[in-house]
């Protein structure tokens, strides 16, 4: 019944229009190297919070799905991935363009993206309500461990190594301490600044660390995408045979990887690509223009969209930075992730999930007919892009609370974020730490208050034990990788 009501709500003209605008904007943003889906969703939140919840979420969902696909267009035509997740696509797509088969590569990309994205949304629709129901059994210790697990997921894949990942996550958790203590109501770490009584709003931090830092990184770049596109050479071509097993491989891998906190679309795309390479009968064609690689990578990164929303909507644990930004969008609309999303707010939540189906259809149609034209947009001069996005970032931060203090906060996060990013600290872990901080603190303090200070409460239930096991596995994994890497380096040095 709720599903039917949601379907009716989604099929309203204004919602369909919102999905269309969101998806096309997503393709444009995803197609511009240097601009990411996280940045787009973060910048959209101030704009969408005056809309109805469903329209706001439909736009953001459309941007997320569109951006995931959009990154593949300049990757194929210009060898410049629009998003990091499209890097694997560039390895096979650009050689195909050079062979005059750009049209075929674009077709493989859009169909694979559509299948991956649609399947992952079906999975989201099927398992999210069940998982949300299961979350009702969670108490404070489990919520604390859940927050730590979400953070550990991001820390474990941090490029700067485990220690820097942990420090990054801790910075976020410490920033989340600023403001009113949830247990006592006392204001703490506010440095006498009234604007900090309610804590550091994570939206200015998100916009600063994911928008302005990228603008600073673009200084010195003349035009992000190099090369030129000759639209006359891109012909409409048929989908090559034998692609479906690779699309299926990418779809499955991407959906599972998306559900695991921390493992994002880039990892999903490369994992799918490598698995396709191992499975292929024409391994020698990889790197020279093999559409099988595009099929697996694109299905993989788009399948992450639905997967990453599973922990977000059910447990309130964002799996990656885009879903963290989406969580901001949900919270601003007064929607708290968890079982209530699927009951009290069922029409909005199911409507949002159904809107992702339509977003997939929108990018399929747009991609099939207009993909090469979108690549032209990626050649907008950096000078205009940096100036315009800076204005949007500043006004976006201001408009959340009509506060210039938030804008200063955004700039501080941007400059500090840029510096820390250069030293390989993880900005994703910082922002997730800020979001998960209150969940972790509430869970920790409430659990200890219930148990009168006995910390064994964190190890008692079966769910807690499972969560501990996942946390340990997530922490051990990068340590193994680190030691393996060191052993291989030492071996290589000995051989030299």
């Amino acid at each position: 019944m709720i599903l039917l009501d949601a379907l009716q709500a989604v099929l309203a003209f204004d919602v369909l229009f919102a999905i269309f605008i969101g998806t096309v904007s997503g393709i444009i943003i995803g197609g511009m190297p240097g601009l990411t889906a996280t940045m787009a969703v973060a910048l959209l939140i101030p704009i969408t919070f005056s809309f109805t919840p469903l329209i706001g979420l439909a736009i953001m969902g459309g941007v997320y799905a569109g951006a995931m696909y959009g990154g593949s267009i300049p990757a194929i035509l210009l060898s410049t991935p629009g998003t990091p997740a499209a890097a694997a696509t560039a390895l096979e797509g650009y050689p195909l363009t050079k062979q005059g088969k750009g049209g075929m590569a674009l077709k493989v990309s859009v169909i694979s993206s559509f299948v991956g994205g649609t399947f992952s949304v079906i999975v989201l629709l099927a398992i999210a309500p069940i998982l949300a129901e299961f979350a009702l059994k969670f108490g404070p210790p489990e919520y604390f461990l859940l927050a730590i697990m979400g953070l550990t997921g991001v820390i474990s894949v941090a490029s700067g190594g485990l220690t820097r990942g942990i420090i990054s996550g801790l910075i976020g958790l410490i920033i989340a301490l600023i403001g009113t203590d949830p247990m006592t109501g006392m204001v703490r770490y506010d440095f006498g600044i009234i604007d900090l009584y309610e804590g550091v709003s994570f939206m200015p931090a998100l916009i600063g660390m994911f928008s302005i830092t990228q603008m600073l990184a673009l200084t010195g770049e003349k035009s992000i995408a190099s090369g030129d596109i000759d639209l006359t050479t891109i012909k409409r071509e048929k989908m090559p045979k034998g692609m479906w097993p690779f699309i299926g491989l990418g779809t499955g891998t991407g959906t599972v990887v998306g559900i695991i906190p921390g493992e994002g679309a880039t990892i999903a795309a490369f994992m799918s690509y490598n698995m396709a390479k191992a499975k292929s009968k024409v391994k020698n064609l990889f790197g020279k223009g093999n559409p099988e690689g595009i099929a697996a990578a694109e299905a993989g990164n788009n399948a992450c969209v639905g997967g990453s929303l599973v922990p977000l909507l059910t447990l309130g644990v964002p799996g990656n930075t885009v879903s963290a930004a989406l969580m901001g969008g949900l919270m601003i609309q007064g929607l708290i992730p968890g079982p209530e999303l699927f009951t009290t707010h069922g029409v909005i939540t199911y409507g949002f999930i159904l809107s992702l189906f339509i977003a997939n259809i929108v990018f399929l149609v747009v991609g099939l007919f207009f993909a090469p034209y979108f690549a032209k947009i990626s050649q907008i001069p950096t000078s205009i892009l940096v100036a315009a996005i800076s204005v949007f970032a500043i006004i976006g931060s201001y408009s959340m609370n009509n506060s210039l203090f938030d804008v200063w906060l955004m700039l501080i996060f941007a400059f500090a974020g840029y510096f820390l990013n250069k030293l390989n600290f993880s900005l994703s872990a910082i922002i997730l730490g800020m979001i998960l901080g209150p969940i972790a603190e509430n869970g920790f303090t409430q659990a200890l208050t219930i148990s009168e200070g006995d910390s064994s409460i964190f190890f008692e239930s079966a769910v807690a034990k499972i969560l501990w096991m996942i946390i340990i596995v997530l922490l051990i994994q990068p340590l193994f990788a680190h030691f393996k890497d060191r052993r291989e380096k030492a071996k290589a040095m000995r051989n030299e």
């Binding site: 410490i174 302005i212 205009i384």
Partner: protein
């Protein structure tokens, strides 16, 4: 080019000091209200401080024993610094002269800093973007954008 090793050592020391300050502050926060619940809050703060301290020490040791390497903060330091000044100046001046004038100044200036040479085009683009943002936020979403305050005292 800056020596990465020294920067990393300074940053590690910063985190160790932060951890020590945080550890010391947990009890201060606790003093005002003496309840079992505040003990758990200070335990939480102390736990964060201890883990940060340990991670900071590990980072310090790793940085100290690492071989020297260089870090490139930006490809174009002049543009980078000018963009930072431009952003800070824009936000600072917006408080006094309001959104419209400050944005009309910021946009062409930033485009120029970033290397856009066509002045007429950059002014036209700036007017277009300013108008779009104004219509979207102020008219569309009824969000009051900063207005000039510089003349308020003279009335």
């Amino acid at each position: 080019m800056i020596n990465r090793k020294y920067i990393e050592i300074i940053v590690s020391i910063f985190f160790i000091v932060l951890a020590a300050l945080l550890y010391g502050s947990a009890d201060t926060v606790n003093q005002a209200v003496s309840q079992a619940s505040t003990d758990s809050t200070s335990t939480y703060v102390n736990t964060l401080a201890i883990i940060l301290g340990i991670a900071g020490v590990i980072e310090l040791i790793m940085s100290a024993i690492s071989s020297p390497s260089f870090i490139e903060f930006t490809k174009d330091p002049t543009k980078f610094i000018l963009l930072i000044i431009s952003l800070v100046g824009y936000v600072w001046i917006m408080e006094y002269i309001g959104f419209i004038v400050s944005t009309l100044m910021f946009l062409p200036m930033t485009m120029r800093i970033m290397g856009y040479k066509n002045i007429v085009k950059s002014i036209l683009i700036s007017v277009g973007i300013t108008l779009f943002v104004y219509l979207l936020f102020q008219v569309g979403f009824e969000i009051l954008l900063p207005e000039p305050t510089i003349f308020e005292g003279s009335e």
